[in-house]
């Protein structure tokens, strides 16, 4: 001990050397170029070759898309730029564009599709507004209840008692969500708080607070029932549905159902109960091992053979069911992967405080696991969105089906490239948006956990 202090007294004073600037040409734009593009002879050659290739592609694309573009034409023949050569016939795309989006949906009824889309957007926007409370309820109602309203708006016709109830519930929910969001935005308190305040339940026990809210819900429901009483839409059978609209319906239902179904299947696969586990494994393995197109054919052509005489199943409905089952099987494995990333201690801690199985899954395991799963889930959604184009093979006119229909139209016969390019752009926009949103979600959910 004494030795050390003595040494310290005679030791020299340490002065750090001054920091020097880095060698020139290693930082900034020039440094980046040198390091990434021109790092040696081979690298420089490859860079130059790549630049030439990219330039060549760009010039050709520009020429195809813009220089040779024919924007106004009544049919394919008018798209010639010289007697022997066709130009790039954007006029055809323009002529068909409404059909790409809505299929053969009657022009006068297209507003129904648009308003359903607007309702969905209005319904979901509050989920992204920071001031709005009860986001989970809004999102869940959007996923579970909106489809009934949308289904009726798309299909029209008579409502049976079930649809009557579900459409009123959906309208009621929509009204509530809008009022709630506006209240949250402008007063900072949600609708249930307002109801409790206004009915004077605020100073009563918290356990009684649900009653005025329930009464309000019933009133809203009856009001909606009354509101929709006189509303009747012309029937639009679903063989008229098509284009991007149909693609979104199929993939939307697939996406919305895949996650919950996948979660249930994944939990079933990890269950201790043998029968449930075997059933889930069998389902997952069966549907994962068969191509989607096979499942679609089975659903639309073979399945009806097993049905009793005179019993019809709608082609679109069976295609949607097939897509949902297929997506659920894939999602189940994604979810299982996420579940395995959760340490055993989390399950044990949840059990040890007395939570039931479903509570510990819902509050502890799933919220954490879903965060890990986001990239894979979104990949699956993108895959599903693009896979729905396969329904064009079983005779549904989805976006790809409509694109193919163009080339068979006598006036536009042979017009393939431009519509296909349009479809590619539409799919790219959809998928890229999903991808970007998933990155945003990951960043947002990761914040604050400091794990």
């Amino acid at each position: 001990m004494t030795e050390i202090t003595e040494q310290n007294e005679v030791s020299e004073k340490f002065v750090p050397k001054p920091s020097l600037p880095p060698p020139p040409n290693t930082t900034g734009a020039i440094g980046w170029l040198r390091y990434n593009l021109f790092d040696g002879f081979l690298s420089s050659c490859l860079t130059v070759l790549s630049l030439i290739a990219i330039g060549f592609i760009c010039v050709n694309f520009y020429e195809w898309a813009f220089t040779k573009a024919v924007l106004e034409a009544a049919n394919r023949q008018e798209c010639r730029i010289t007697p022997t050569e066709f130009g790039t016939c954007w006029a055809g795309v323009k002529f068909w564009f409404t059909r790409f989006i809505y299929g053969r949906y009657t022009d006068t009824e297209i507003w129904r599709v648009n308003s359903a889309a607007i309702i969905l957007i209005l319904w979901m926007i509050p989920v992204w507004l920071p001031r709005v409370t009860a986001k989970l309820n809004i999102a869940l109602s959007g996923v579970l209840i909106f489809p009934f309203l949308a289904g009726y708006m798309f299909l029209g016709g008579d409502r049976n008692w079930f649809m009557e109830i579900m459409v009123s519930v959906a309208v009621g929910c929509f009204i509530t969500v809008i009022i709630h969001s506006l209240l949250c935005l402008f007063t900072g308190a949600g609708i249930s708080k307002w109801i409790i305040q206004l009915t004077g339940f605020a100073n009563r026990s918290e356990r009684l607070h649900k009653f005025p809210v329930i009464v309000f819900a019933v009133i809203i429901f009856l009001l909606s029932l009354f509101l929709i009483n006189d509303v009747a839409f012309k029937e639009m059978p679903n063989n008229l549905w098509g284009g991007l609209f149909l693609t979104l319906v199929i993939s939307g239902i697939g996406i919305a159902s895949a996650l919950p179904a996948g979660i249930l299947l994944a939990l079933g696969r990890r269950s201790k109960m043998t029968v449930i586990r075997v059933l889930c494994v069998a389902f997952i393995e069966l549907f994962r091992s068969v191509p989607l197109i096979t499942i679609l054919f089975m659903a639309t052509t073979m399945f009806p053979l097993f049905l009793p005489e005179g019993f019809h199943i709608n082609k679109l409905a069976s295609a949607i069911v097939a897509v949902c089952l297929f997506a659920a099987a894939y999602m189940a494995e994604v979810v299982r992967g996420g579940l395995q990333a959760i340490p055993k201690g989390q399950y044990e801690a949840a059990e040890a405080v007395g939570l039931t199985y479903w509570q510990s899954m819902g509050f502890i395991v799933m919220p954490q696991a879903l965060k890990y799963m986001i990239p894979n889930i979104v990949s699956n959604f993108m895959g599903l969105f693009k896979d729905t184009t396969l329904v064009s093979i079983i005779g549904l006119y989805d976006l790809l089906g409509m694109i193919n229909a163009v080339s068979q139209d006598p006036s536009w016969i042979g017009l393939h490239h431009e519509p296909l390019f349009t479809a590619a752009v539409i799919f790219f926009i959809g998928c890229f948006a999903m991808s970007k949103y998933s990155q945003y979600l990951e960043r947002n959910l990761g914040a604050g956990h400091g794990r």
Partner: protein, 262 residues
């Protein structure tokens, strides 16, 4: 339970009653073909504080994890507060909500804030309202001396703080029995004492405690009984004075000489 006559100056007075809190008889458990618990007979009295020690793999963690059915015993009987543990889920949930557990690796819920960690189970298992649960949570967080961290996430706390939150989380359920599975083994040395302090304060309130630990100072000060386990058996159990001064079995002597030699 014989009451102790001699007590060290800083040693806690025993508050153990004659009422049995946990009774285990002829409990056996296997992991595959590995016989991890062999004919365990143990009675824990209300208010009693027991420290269980033993080499790793001796079955001490498994023993206390059987009490709240994190592990299932295959043979013998365990009853907690008079409720027999069997595959009846209702009994299991009842026992779990009355038995708190603190883990070696804290096992806080990383996606919830500290106070949410504490209120989750009271709200969903005890059916408390959110405000009630929050008040209780703040009370216990104050008792473990970290009320100011209530809105943080577990990942933002030090190990010692996390373990104290874990203790508060268990206490929020107002348990009658607390199980501690090596609560200080994953902590940095300077954080061990802050957790042990909280545990000593808890012991002072008369809580029934089973602690798997190698903190012999803690055992000396707090325990009514020290249990030494090896090869899935209870080798020796005694009051801490007797246990440390006159270990009977040679295995205990060897173990004590190894852990006390440093």
């Amino acid at each position: 339970m014989n009451t102790k006559t001699e007590t060290e100056s800083n040693q806690l007075q025993s508050v153990a009653s004659d009422e049995v809190a946990i009774s285990m008889s002829k409990v056996n458990k296997w992991f595959g073909s590995f016989h991890v618990l062999k004919d365990i007979d143990l009675s824990v009295y209300k208010g009693e504080r027991i420290v269980i020690c033993g080499p790793s793999g001796s079955g001490k963690s498994t023993l206390i994890r059987c009490i709240n059915r994190l592990e299932e015993h295959q043979d013998g009987d365990i009853s907690v507060n008079g409720v027999t543990l069997d595959s009846n889920l209702k009994n299991i949930h009842a026992i779990r909500s009355d038995v708190g557990m603190v883990f070696q690796s804290f096992n806080l819920f990383p996606h919830l804030t500290v106070v949410e960690n504490c209120t989750l189970a009271p709200v969903w298992v005890r059916n408390m309202t959110k405000t009630e649960a929050q008040e209780i949570a703040m009370e216990y967080l104050t008792r473990v001396k970290i009320p100011e961290q209530a809105e943080k996430y577990p990942g933002q706390l030090s190990g010692g703080q996390q373990q104290r939150v874990a203790i508060a989380r268990s206490l929020c359920m107002n348990p009658q029995i607390m199980l501690f599975d090596e609560p200080t083994s994953a902590l940095d040395p300077e954080m061990i004492s802050e957790v042990l302090d909280v545990m000593i304060e808890l012991a002072e309130t008369g809580m029934t405690m089973l602690v798997v630990s190698h903190e012999m100072g803690f055992a000396r000060r707090v325990a009514d009984r020290v249990i030494f386990m090896d090869y899935g058996e209870i080798v020796e159990q005694n009051t801490p004075e007797e246990f440390f001064a006159n270990p009977k079995s040679d295995r205990t002597k060897l173990f004590l000489s190894q852990i006390l030699s440093h």
